[in-house]
Amino acid sequence: MAKNNKKIVPIAIVCALIAVAAVAAFLLTRPSKEKETISVYNWGDYIDTACLDLFEQETGIEVIYEVFETNEDMYAKIAEGGSSYDVIIPSDYMVERMIEEQLLQKINWDNIPNIVNIDPRFLHEDYDPEAAYSVPYTWGTMGILYNTKRVTTPPTSWQTLLDPAYANDMLMLNSPRDTLGIALVMCGHDLNSTDPADLEDAKNLLLEQKPMVLAYVVDEVKDKMIAGEASVALVWSGDATFCMDESDDLDYVVPEEGSNIFYDSICIPANARNVSGAEKFIDFLCRADIAAMNYEYVGYAIPNTAAIELMGADEYNASPVNNPPQEVLDKCHVFKYLGDDTKLYDQIWTEIISDF
């Protein structure tokens, strides 16, 4: 008991120290009141944080920066209304949904002069036909990442993912929409189909493929492909870039049947507090040098022509990730917001992975 009594004193001291440290940290992390601030909500690790410092230096506007993991998480926070952001970066189908639900506001292009840097090819996509609410930040495709040491003839078709030669040697994405979408393409159906018969085809295809799949992965795919855990994998192009930077044995292809193309776009939520600050930030991100800086850091393909020229177009276009053939790109489509039919995808996907 005497031993325990002695323990109380240090614990009390530690507690007191803790409280002081905590209060100090709390006061330090609070944004100062006098400064103009904007609140930015972005994907994790999706900007070179040096850009944020640069923006603060140039404009004096402090950036409160927060990150999310999935579109749905971000949507929940915005729709629930507990928080307010000035700039957010959702993906295509989520932009469509948020426009429909009046959660975004139209951008005043007069205040974004650098919009001229954006390749018009990437504007007016299905999710924002008037190009009124969003500025594309990055874009990418889905495709096959393969190990050139073990896959000797470069794949050109999605049929590679059904090849018994890669049994227990292929990785698929554990993501209902993405994987079922590709399965729909493999069956010759529309990427966004909600026809139960089409989805049944896709389901059967994936069930047939299942015994050959080593694992259904999400973010782990990068480490696994770099380590040579499998020979082929269904990946997003951003992950492919990361892997190819790390390993010389990997290459990427967007199969000829077509694929999904996705955009992550910069938007201003309807309930933004500092719209003019947000416009300045968006314009800043569209500047050639800043877009180039972010490209170097993030690695996703960018729609910013001026930035590509600045970095050297030849080098940029040499990557199969940044520059898929136009005829393949023509067959790539964005995911549409499916509303209640999202449930159908989820149900089918659960049936596929829990089939044991």
């Binding site: 928080s83 990068k222 040579g228």
Partner: protein, 268 residues
């Protein structure tokens, strides 16, 4: 037999520490990927101290963890004592309520707390994050204090009061020292849970407040940066040496006390 026991503890330690050692190793790996060894480097440590997002997340994690652990230890200990004094039936009822959050997946707790704040029109931020952490830490404290109370000799504090101690004195002198190990392990548990939590934090934070787990999970999207391994190594080393230091001090004191007792005993 004694060797066998030591060997068993040794094996468990190998099991617990093998992945930790590997993580420490990665923090010195001159390659972004876990898959290949690119040679020894300290550059991740250098980069870590330049990354303001990670550093501010670290500050939030520590301050939230310590505050939440301290407050929930207070609340949980008094709660456990109050529970212990209740009659059987209401105690069972309240105890089941307290255990409820542990039955939920974290995401459900996180979402339900977020809905609660939305219902009360509270702006998400540091305060909501702290409240949520307290909310999920308290049951752990209660769970570690209650068994200690059950083992308590009920006559002891009565005896103390018969001898003229006030209830407060009785509590401080008799009850508290006896349940202190439980309180302490509750505190450590709460701190550990708070530092490790991602999901509940994610749904209940806002206004730019982000902790380390959120940073790490969202980073996983592009491959976890070895900077995080470096940071984990530093945290781990700090805690490790702090504990060793505290325990060494304890051991020395114990040895001294023992020596005293023995020297007293000899004349008899």
């Amino acid at each position: 037999m004694k060797k066998l026991r030591k060997a068993y503890i040794g094996l468990i330690m190998v099991f617990l520490y093998a992945p930790i050692l590997l993580l420490v190793l990665y923090s010195f790996n001159d390659s972004r990927s876990r898959a290949s060894w690119g040679g020894f480097t300290l550059r991740w440590y250098a980069e870590l101290f330049r990354d303001r997002a990670i550093l501010s997340a670290l500050g939030t994690t520590l301050s939230i963890g310590l505050l939440a652990a301290a407050i929930s230890t207070l609340l949980g200990t008094f709660g456990a004592i109050a529970l212990f004094q209740m009659r059987r039936r209401p105690r069972r009822a309240l105890l089941s309520v307290v255990n409820l959050p542990m039955l939920n997946s974290e995401v459900v707790t996180g979402v339900s707390l977020m809905l609660l704040y939305a219902l009360l029109h509270v702006q998400l931020g540091y305060a909501t994050l702290l409240l949520s952490h307290i909310a999920f830490c308290v049951p752990y404290v209660v769970l570690s204090v209650l068994p200690k109370l059950r083992q308590l000799d009920p006559h002891l504090s009565e005896a103390a009061q018969d001898l003229g101690a006030t209830p407060m004195q009785g509590f401080l002198r008799v009850v508290l020292p006896d349940i202190m190990p439980g309180v302490f392990s509750g505190f450590v548990m709460a701190l550990t849970m708070s530092i490790d939590d991602f999901l509940i934090s994610f749904f209940t934070t806002g206004s730019g407040v982000s902790n380390l787990s959120i940073t790490i999970y969202t980073m996983a999207k592009r491959g976890i940066s070895p900077k995080i391994n470096a940071l984990s190594t530093i945290i781990f080393a700090c805690v490790f040496f702090l504990l060793i230091g505290l325990n060494l001090q304890d051991l020395r004191k114990e040895a001294r006390a023992k020596a005293k007792v023995e020297s007293v005993r000899i004349p008899y």
